[in-house]
């Protein structure tokens, strides 16, 4: 029991100071990328649409861990040296942005075309209709799968340990290297990840209820 009490805060604190900010900042940036890339495709913007497809193809087709290595260990060969944390934020947001762009795009396309036509006939422009009618409805549809992505990404931030970000998992590895209590410590960090994702799951249910109320359901 002494191992757990000694180590609990030593693991939890990097969780709060690193894992959570890394998740929050990366996911916020990923959302900006996702909505932009999804809208470009929804509106079939020339030139940008094939670029968007290319971006999604590359990112979804290569492992996240490899992307982390390319940016952190690879780019210095081109003279681009990033600190571990910004490198991790960059990779996680670009990676997550590609997946979430597909979620948002499919949600946009699931809004009935009649909503767009009704906007036009009410005297709204294309952009006005998309911004005020289509996108809000699509984001409601996309909310559950996006929450899913957020939870998955929070857990994936443990990969940042590989590029020397001292987040929760790296903190655990360091403790374990000192006292050899591998099973206890790795179960402990697993438990803390579980707590974090439980909070996110609760937030998701709460958010879904709020969104339903916003449609009168």
């Amino acid at each position: 029991m002494g191992v757990v009490t000694d180590s609990f805060f030593k693991i939890l604190i990097p969780g709060i100071t690193m894992t959570i900010p890394l998740t929050a900042i990366s996911f916020a940036l990923a959302m900006v990328i996702a909505v932009t890339v999804a809208l470009v495709q929804y509106a079939r913007v020339p030139v940008l649409t094939p670029l968007a497809r290319f971006y999604i193809w590359i990112i979804r087709g290569t492992p996240l861990l490899v992307q982390l290595f390319v940016v952190f260990y690879g780019l210095p060969n081109l003279g681009i040296r990033l600190e571990p944390f910004p490198a991790a934020v960059m990779v996680f947001s670009i990676n997550e942005g590609a997946y979430c762009a597909e979620t948002v795009r499919s949600a946009l396309e699931s809004v009935p075309v009649g909503q767009l036509e009704a906007g036009f006939c009410a005297g709204l422009s294309y952009l006005q209709t998309v911004r005020r009618i289509i996108l809000p409805q699509a984001l409601r549809t996309a909310f559950p799968p996006l929450s899913n992505s957020l939870i998955a990404m929070m857990k994936d931030t443990s990969l940042a340990a590989n590029i020397t970000v001292t987040e929760m998992f790296m903190a655990t590895q360091r403790l374990a290297a000192r006292n050899f209590e591998y099973l206890t410590l790795y179960l402990e960090v697993a438990f803390i990840y579980l707590m974090f994702s439980t909070v996110l799951t609760r937030l998701q249910s709460w958010g879904e209820k709020r969104l339903k109320a916003g449609l009168g359901e």
Partner: protein, 248 residues
């Protein structure tokens, strides 16, 4: 006020509209009848550019437009003078009844909010929904949704309202409330172009009837003449088939 010349539209190899011409005067209530697949809805959708015609000239308030090459700017301008009521209502699902009506005023026409809300409240009261203004579409019956759709149309003070089978998606007991609102609009002199299967509406409310089949207008007559003495044999047959549909 509105004139269409030689409107054609094909989907692939299927000719849906084969040179349709028509003229609507201010205050006209024109019912468009005809069997399914005759091109009624496509024609209406072409008038508001929800479909792009293959050819045709639309003259609105004396201004002529080529229906195939019309600019986006002109489309936007024309749409602000017209309104469209959909078969499936197409209310904005993320907006309340009131917001559905104000949206086109505040966002589409940059009207001050206070004024828009005032107009929207009057429009909703007119269609009998004064007590439903804060309801979302899912909280309304089909008939109520369609009346919001009509309120949304009249609030912008359009020169003409296009109705695309406004009662076809409704349960029979809800049709009456929508037709009553449309009748009231007709009596107030609103110019209306109504694709419908409601013979009673065509007979008792509309001033003019167009009968379409296979993408053309087969007969065009005053509502009285159309029902009293249809010239075309095909029209007589259609009227007979529709009126016997209800006898089992």
């Amino acid at each position: 006020m509105l004139e269409i010349q030689n409107l054609t539209k094909t989907f692939g190899t299927l000719t849906v509209l084969d040179g349709v011409s028509l003229a609507v005067e201010q205050g006209d209530v024109v019912a468009i009848l005809g069997p399914s697949g005759s091109g009624k809805t496509t024609m209406l959708r072409c008038l508001n550019f929800l479909e792009t015609a293959d050819s045709g000239v639309l003259t609105f308030d004396g201004e002529a437009f080529d229906m195939r090459t019309i600019s986006r700017r002109d489309i936007a301008r024309l749409r602000k003078k017209t309104a469209f009521v959909f078969q499936n209502y197409n209310l904005f699902r993320n907006k309340t009844a009131l917001e559905n009506v104000t949206e086109g005023l505040i966002i589409g026409r940059h009207m001050p909010k206070v004024q828009a809300i005032d107009i929207a409240k009057k429009a909703l009261t007119k269609v009998g929904l004064a007590d439903r203004m804060d309801h979302y579409p899912v909280q309304l019956s089909g008939g109520q949704q369609q009346r919001v759709g009509i309120a949304r149309a009249i609030a912008t003070n359009p020169e003409i309202i296009y109705f695309d089978e406004p009662t076809s998606a409704l349960d029979p007991e809800l049709i009456g409330e929508v037709l009553a609102v449309m009748r009231q609009l007709a009596e107030e002199g609103m110019t209306m172009l109504v694709v419908t299967h409601e013979l009673n509406f065509a007979k008792n409310v509309s001033s003019k009837v167009l009968f379409m089949e296979d993408g053309s207008i087969l007969e065009e007559a005053s509502s009285h003449d159309f029902f009293a003495a249809p010239r075309e044999g095909r029209v007589r047959e259609f009227l007979r088939s529709i009126s016997t549909d209800h006898i089992y």
